[in-house]
Amino acid sequence: MTISSASELAELAEAREELRAVARDLLGKTRPPAAPAWSVLASSGWLGLEVPAALDGADATFAEVAVIAEELGRAVACVPYLGAAILGTGTLRELEPVQDTDDLLRQAAAGLALPVAVLSDGTPTTSPATADGVPFWLAKTPGGGVRLHGQAAFVPDAAKASSLLVLARSNDDGAPVIVVTDPRAPGVSIASQPVVDETRQLAQVTVEGAEIAPAAICRFAEDPRAAVRRLQDRAAVAVACDSLGVAEAMLDATVSYAKVREQFGRPIGSFQAVKHACADMLVKVTVSRQLITTAVTALAAAAPSSASSASASSAATTVAAMAKSYASDAAVEVAGKAMQLHGGIGYTWESGIHRYLKRASLNRALFGSPESHRRRLSTRYR
């Protein structure tokens, strides 16, 4: 979609704010962590935001998806939105459209299928910059069939997948392709990896020679390396949005608490030590939001269907690295400060602050640590 006028831009911004208000309302109906039914997300239209209208989707962009990602972070929501609606659907949209992938997009938008992307090997030390980090490969068997091999850890929402969209190296030309894989097929195993943050579900995906039908091997619509790069940027920015939501929730909670909690006969928020910490939290949240807005806008513009240039795509990668490294760090600091300023009550399980701190901590490590993103940025200085 191309935007041609300021008034259209303003309308889109307004629509996003409406989407945000609806999401906050829906996710705020219960105490966090929010755990709305998947069918509720489907009927709210959140699962088909980036799906074309012809496939019963909303024909919106990553900018709208980013709003939901942020609100899910704010509610520390336990839903497979990241693995399925953000990365699964995002992956399908990068592929050459065929009947099968169209069907999958239609079902995903309706909440009837849960296609989950398997994009990186999850090694914490691997820089997300290396498109060579493709963790799976296809190999021909003597009988003429094709089999899939490989392993990836820390795959969000894999355990709930109805199908896995596995990034693999093609047996023909070595180019990255997506292999649509049945998680119940022989040779495929999915092992849950319980992590400290109980609001996220990660799993290790192991494929040992699973037989793959030719139709399940999907080519990217455009340059596959650029597509992989875009998907990795998308993953990083989606997590950054989640972190922003976490940080905003913690700032709000802390400010509310500091206004009512009294010690020494005064609200603790009247003490400079507390008030200055809150001001620093606001600055971090504000800067995070700016970097994320820049990255989301760049990624939405770098979508495969748009006539974006290679330089626009590389610029998107730069701002994605900035957004992920800053916002995911900031959220840990903000949530940590929130726990500190809530005092003893903040350290209890009951208060729930720990969920935000744990989610922020996981987010920071997911899809490229701040250090790995900064390493990528720094390659531009030489």
Binding site: V255, A258, K275, H276, V287, T294, Y326, Y381
Partner: protein, 394 residues
């Protein structure tokens, strides 16, 4: 491409071409260690150049020679920064604070007299702080006693930047000693050539002397030079001070994001440190923060233009910029090592990151202290931005 985008691209080309033919190639070197008079002449020349191009006061209303859209101003400042043009240091208070005050609260006569004079090079200084009124500015003691159609001013002002070259002063003085401290202050336009006025430079930590003390003994200020109503000066100053923050910060952010960061990378490169992972990590962290600052400033300018700026937005930008500048110049000083300690002067008319890293680092406290210290900014952000309870009033 839409017409608005094409128009901006065309404007960018225009500024770029202009910079290439107007920014003197060697000005930094030529302006390093120059005598005061040469610096002043250089500033006046550069102001006249920008004025001739129509870009000295782009933020003023069209009728006074400005009227540029916020989007175009962003482009203008980006290109000036990218081409490392000299900064308008001497005229800074005149074109920003004085103009904003006149436009917001001045009479028709005051505007007519001073706005055109500023375009012709009239220099202004702020006479706000005093020895006993720093962060607690409202406790200022300089008095202005009414005497018919004039006021008699007595007291002492401090940290008046550029007072030695100033023609006029934005003066806050107490006109009602009996009233609560914020309700007895008036705001004046004071002629710096008035008898009874003594200006003494103060050498700052960097070794420069642009800060001054102003001693006022029985200085006569005509009552027509009151700006805003008598005893409402505090409120007038509050309303006009933050108004300019967006644009002035935008310019500084663009400076930091262009030449400033480029020099930092060069300094690392010269010392063979770009391959050091810790150095690379810190550079990337700083570049990220600068990107955040630039986006923040553009956003503030746009929201100010649309009348949607929040009460603490300017403080967030000032605080973040000041401390980022300190981190960045501090890192520069660290990278520059012992050879950096040999750099004893920095180019006049340059930004706050001139590449003379140790001096730049020392000079960065000129951002975290004046204009409301970082501590005061945090109070403002917490109280006005987040609604936390006020400090118990003294």
């Amino acid at each position: 491409m839409t017409s608005a985008v094409a128009d901006l691209a065309e404007f960018r080309t225009e500024v770029r071409d202009w910079c290439r033919s107007h920014v003197p190639v060697d000005w930094r070197k030529a302006q390093t260690g120059v005598p005061e008079a040469e610096y002043v002449a250089f500033q006046q020349w550069w102001f006249a150049e920008l004025r001739a191009a129509g870009w000295a006061v782009p933020h003023w209303p069209a009728e006074w020679g400005g009227g540029m859209s916020a989007a175009r101003q962003v482009v203008l400042y980006q290109e000036l920064a990218a081409h490392d043009a000299p900064r308008l240091v001497l005229a800074f208070v005149s074109i920003h604070h004085a103009a904003a005050t006149l436009l917001e609260a001045g009479t028709e006569e005051q505007r007519a007299r001073h706005l055109s004079a500023i375009l012709d090079g009239e220099i202004w200084v702020q006479g706000f702080s005093e020895p006993e009124a720093g962060s607690d500015l409202a406790s200022l003691r300089t008095t202005a006693r009414r005497d018919g159609d004039r006021f008699i001013v007595n007291g002492q002002k401090l940290w008046a930047s550029g007072a030695a070259h100033a023609d006029w002063c934005l003066l806050l003085a107490r006109t009602d000693p009996a009233a609560p401290k914020r309700k007895g202050i008036s705001y004046f336009l004071m002629d710096m050539r008035s008898p009874g006025l003594d200006v003494r430079p103060i050498k700052n930590a960097v070794g420069e002397s642009h800060f001054c003390e102003i001693f006022l003994s029985d200085v006569q200020v005509p009552a027509v030079n009151l700006i805003g109503p008598e005893n409402v000066g505090w409120q007038v100053a509050q309303a006009t001070l933050g108004a300019e923050r967006g644009l002035t910060m935008l310019e500084l952010a663009e400076r930091l994001g262009n030449a400033g960061f480029r020099w930092l990378v060069e300094a690392c490169s010269e010392r063979g440190l770009l391959g050091d992972s810790r150095v690379a990590d810190r550079l990337a962290g700083l570049e990220t923060e600068i990107a955040g600052l630039r986006a923040l400033c553009r956003d503030l300018v746009e929201r100010s233009e649309a009348g949607r700026a929040g009460p603490a937005d300017a403080s967030v930008v000032k605080l973040f910029y000041s401390e980022l500048l300190q981190r960045l110049t501090g890192f520069g000083a660290e990278i520059a090592g012992l050879p950096g300690q040999l750099v004893l002067s920095k180019p006049a008319s340059s930004g706050w990151e001139s590449g003379a890293w140790v001096l730049d680092y020392i000079g960065s406290w000129e951002w975290t202290i004046p204009g409301g210290t970082s501590e005061i900014q945090r109070n403002i952000i917490a109280e006005r931005g987040l609604g936390l309870p006020r400090e118990p009033a003294a």
